[in-house]
Symmetry: C2
Subunit: 662 residues, 2 copies
């Protein structure tokens, strides 16, 4: 039973955990990024992004600066601004956005084409290197921004720019003579065109998205042919270059025949997102089935417990089943954001708990770990194990930064985080109009006005997540009329059904009989002010990985509710590898309202192996049981939510902890 | 008390373990390499090495082929041939060598210069890129070959070529006006010049070696200046290039001020070898002290338990203290060979057991693991943990090959192994003429004629190593006269002094009172036919690494005598990470004369965690003590010597094994 998201304008977040993130994006990240796009951040390398538009528009002279995909930084920023304005007006911010939009419109070419790199630097080379040059990727981000901004403000200027460009693309690409029968190296246009279809009702955009998806990976391989035609060159290096890596671009076989998540992780999940969109919009069973297979490949075999994906820095890519190294990991913030997109689309196809479980896991862990508490620094790579000296002195781990970094030259993750957090309200609920069912997927407090067949219903949610599992919903049908409908509440995977409890309208309900696909379906005639109280006990759980995951053998990870915890050196000393906890260790929550903007630490018994018994010159020695017992000392281990690591003194960190057998 | 090596001509190896290796080098490796140098190996990429000499000599036309240091392959082969001929004449082999030597002599330039790359391709560019171009490195290998061949055959042709080139170098390099005040990017000439001094008595060569060592790392930095002068280019890539990495080349500070083993591991140990040579020859205390510091840096903080060195593929280099990843390791075969050289030179300075312990460890483990039992395939990288799929599908581990490879384009390791094994006889004993003491460092069976002040003494050794610790020496003084001298027998680190026993001339001796620096000094008047029987019990020892070695936390390695053992998939199934052994597991030796040319396996109790209890879709699950006990099954674990891994079916391998606490 397919369901729809709620317009961001109808949702207001008011949540002890999330409101600070949303506010930081609004107050810190978006203004900072505007300065960065304008090259006004002292000490940071210039973005060139807005300057490129001025040059392309003929308003300034100069040469193109930044990466070939630099335009997308402006678009992602505008998309985040659109989401921010949808939930709260801000005339000054809207003025800045309009200023950027005027520039973008001015840079658009008479035929609708829009890309500052090609306009400024290689005007004759449009669409000659789709493999490397991100033209359609940038177009996709333009479209997403345009849709978001139009929805928020009602203004059409950017939407018209986007439609003109989309029309130009629609004329340029396709199976007909004279058209390019190709697709982009970095998927993004596909999901964006679905949004443009949703915003405009123009079916050509949906068909164009389907064309790009259907064409991908067919033989003869477009990227190979394009490379031959170009004279075997690459955008990324001078001189002749080898053929494009088809697997890296998920273009090695038709998407319906792809069974494993491979290649560049961000591109992969952006593509799967579009596939799920199209499967739902077109009722395409084979595409839906491919989505399920690829989803399974990720979550059952290629995903870190934090919701991170991508096991190698080489190509920022997936590798193979159960290869999840904690120290040489990639787990790019953007990839987990894309996993949230994919999960959301799968949820819309069918409300099955697992999609929301993974969405929640990625969101509360790998995604927000990407940003510092002050909103000013970012992780692109989200390791599960950090040894700062190794990051500095072992080049195999140089990509793993032990502290968050300021805005990069390649600034994909910060604006991506901004647009996700600014639109967080649209991930909480979906509604199925066919059977008047509201699905609550995430327990994030606030208010939402949800359209049902008999008129809107306002839901007010108060949630203790992630610190406790107490959730209270209050129902306010429009016009204060009582109304029959179904409220389907997700029972998270982390909560035992026997432990959970539910009261609706003051009445205690048995959960098990109401459960379907992990959702507790409460159907009743709701009166104004009716409440639903859900108690989701949140015991500390030690988790283990399948034995096939070599990196985690003999280790456990600490979780509680949606949060994965980790150990940091600042709480536990070093090396963290010297710490072990009993496999049945009972860790207890300790709330500290002062630390880390209010955090619940977990504490429990462990052991640390010291070096007291070691001669300083000795690197190896025979095991001596007596000495081992002397060197192993009981300690209290303290774990901190993974999302919040790296916000205190720099040091070691580990998610997986050695377990003592019991 | 300094001691001298024994001439290879005076040593004959006859040892159940080593003779097959020596014979394989003689019968397989040296003939195969001759074919390879002549570009006659079907299917292998051509070496070009001898052809380059023909072209440089004007005997053939064509262009230079192979790496800039391709000449050294011929020299290393000739050096190995020299060692082989020293122990057994082989007229046919000598004829081939003379043929190669004629070519080399013909390629030498009138002024003594000799390098086919520069002669053929860049005649005007001699000595303009010492950082990258290995000119002095190749010269060093020429000298080593010349000395070995002269010692074996008495023929002077190659030695004369080497001296002419060394004289040319001596005139070209130095502190005087018009001379180049520089040194080579790849150390090798330094240790070679010491050998040339030893062979010829010409002190200029020793002084030149000292010049290169003393000059290295002084400011202004030679490699930087050279790079500026060259126009900021590199041999390795077109266009402008960044400044040379001084640390990679151990040229970041004067060698006496270097306290940590850094940079390219092979270059480092070749340099330390020369430093130790010079320290001994010149009685240079400050150099000796630097050698001790650098030795300590390696063996106490930067060495794998196998005697492997180099923790990263990036620059084939050392990283930092306690950074010894088992899976992304480098541990190049050549680097461990260089560590054997360094250990041997330190032993010559002072007979302290640790140097011989490490020499033995590297030799019996990391070094010979580099070659397959049939002598036809080689490991360049010697990992301590292998997951074949990861080598294939995770680019961070692509350098770790799960099976030995045939001759490479960059063929450093195979000829290096050949020359070491062919000269193995010179590592067993040293003699200190000042106090008439013979040191036995390695227990490798055979016969050696050792010069003492009163005339030579022949020692015959029968050794059970590495399979048992029973060693028997028989003394035969020349002319059958009884003779007083000291026999100093190393008590290996792996043998408890209380467990060892010694009989000399039929008399049982207490060991402890005779021990000095780890050597049992037996001084007596030896009669012809006197025997020494040393029993070195060799219990299985589980070893642990210091807690600072993150990669080995909670793990043990299995050793017995000089051998490090490992688990292979072929004996134990997969994944090997699912296996754990009790920290006090009693493993027992099981001799199998059929397997692997005769091997002693070690077997003992362990546990394996199965996947029976796992839902196929589940990647993580809460720890369930009951389920864990059901999934953990007792098994018999079988370990194989690390040196012999990869000689059966390809599969996983691990040295470090999870330990169950006791």
């Amino acid at each position: 039973m397919s369901s729809e998201t709620i317009s961001l304008k109808q949702v207001r977040i008011d949540d002890a955990f999330w409101t600070p993130y949303v506010e930081r994006v609004r107050q810190v990240v978006i203004p900072y990024q505007w300065e960065a796009l304008n090259d006004r951040v002292p000490g940071a390398e210039p973005s060139h992004a807005l300057r490129n538009f001025r040059i392309a528009a003929g308003l300034e002279s100069g040469s193109f600066g930044g990466f070939v995909f630099q335009d997308s930084d402006v678009y992602k920023w505008l998309e985040a601004v659109g989401y921010a304005l949808a939930t709260r007006p801000d005339p000054e911010l809207e003025r800045k956005a309009d200023e950027a939009i005027d520039l973008i419109a001015a840079a658009q070419q008479p035929d609708g084409y829009l890309n500052t790199y090609f306009t400024i630097r290689e005007p004759g080379k449009r669409w000659t290197n789709l493999t490397d040059c991100h033209e359609l990727y940038c177009a996709g981000h333009l479209i997403e921004a345009a849709v978001a901004y139009h929805r928020a403000t009602g203004k059409r200027k950017l939407l018209d720019v986007a439609c003109r460009f989309a029309d130009h693309i629609d004329a340029t690409f396709g199976p007909n003579p004279g058209q390019i029968r190709g697709y982009d190296g970095h998927q993004e246009i596909e999901l964006a065109l679905v949004k443009l279809y949703e915003a405009t009702g123009e079916e050509r955009y949906l068909r164009l998205a389907a064309f790009f998806i259907d064409e991908r990976g067919r033989e003869p391989f477009f990227f190979r042919e394009e490379w031959e035609k170009r004279g075997r060159t690459s955008h990324w290096r001078a001189g002749p270059s080898g053929p494009p890596d088809l697997v890296y671009h998920q273009s090695h076989r038709p998407v319906r025949e792809q069974t494993e998540a491979v290649g560049h992780a961000v591109r992969a999940v952006y593509m799967y997102t579009a596939m799920a969109d199209l499967a739902r919009r077109l009722g395409d069973e084979s595409l839906q089935s491919a989505c399920r297979t690829l989803w399974r490949s990720i979550v059952s075999r290629r995903m870190y417990i934090t919701g991170g994906i991508g096991s190698t820095a080489h190509g920022e890519a997936f590798t193979f089943d159960y290869d999840l190294p904690n120290d040489t990991v990639y787990s790019e913030t953007c990839a987990s954001i894309g996993l949230v997109f994919f999960a959301q689309r799968m949820l819309q196809i069918e409300p099955v708990r697992e999609y929301a479980d993974i969405m929640e896991r990625a969101l509360y862990n790998a995604v927000i770990a990407g940003m510092s508490l002050d909103g000013k620094r970012y992780f692109y790579v989200n390791p599960l194990e950090v040894w700062p000296e190794a990051s500095e002195r072992n080049p195999s781990r140089a990509h793993v930064k032990p502290v968050r970094q300021p805005w990069y030259g390649c600034a994909c993750c910060p604006p991506n985080l901004a647009r996700l957090i600014a639109s967080l309200g649209s991930y909480i609920y979906t509604v199925s109009p066919a059977d008047d069912t509201i699905y609550a997927h995430l327990y994030i407090g606030g208010e939402a006005e949800i359209p049902l067949s008999g008129g809107p219903v306002t839901l007010r949610m108060v949630s203790g997540l992630p610190w406790d599992g107490n959730v209270r919903l209050t129902v306010h049908p429009a016009e204060n009329r009582e109304r029959p409908f179904t409220l389907a509440l997700r029972l998270p995977e982390w909560c035992d059904v026997a432990a959970a409890s539910l009261r609706a309208g003051g009445e205690r309900l048995a959960i098990e009989p109401l459960l379907r696909n992990g959702y507790i379906r409460v159907h009743r005639t709701w009166r104004p002010g009716d409440t639903v109280e859900l108690e989701l006990p949140m015991p500390v759980r030690l988790m283990e990985a399948r034995p096939e995951v070599r990196a985690n053998a003999g280790k456990v990870a600490i979780t509680r509710g949606p949060l994965v915890y980790c150990l940091e050196e600042t709480d536990n000393g070093r090396p963290l590898s010297a710490i072990a906890i009993p496999r049945d260790a009972a860790l207890v929550p300790r709330r500290d309202p002062e630390a880390l903007n209010g955090v619940t630490f977990l504490e429990g018994p462990g052991y640390v192996t010291g070096t007291e018994g070691w001669n300083g010159d000795l690197l190896y020695r025979p095991v001596d049981a007596a000495a081992a017992r002397l060197d192993r000392k009981p300690v209290t281990v303290r774990a901190v939510p993974y999302a919040l690591w790296g916000n205190r003194e720099p040091g070691e960190m580990t998610v997986w902890i050695r377990a003592l057998e019991i």
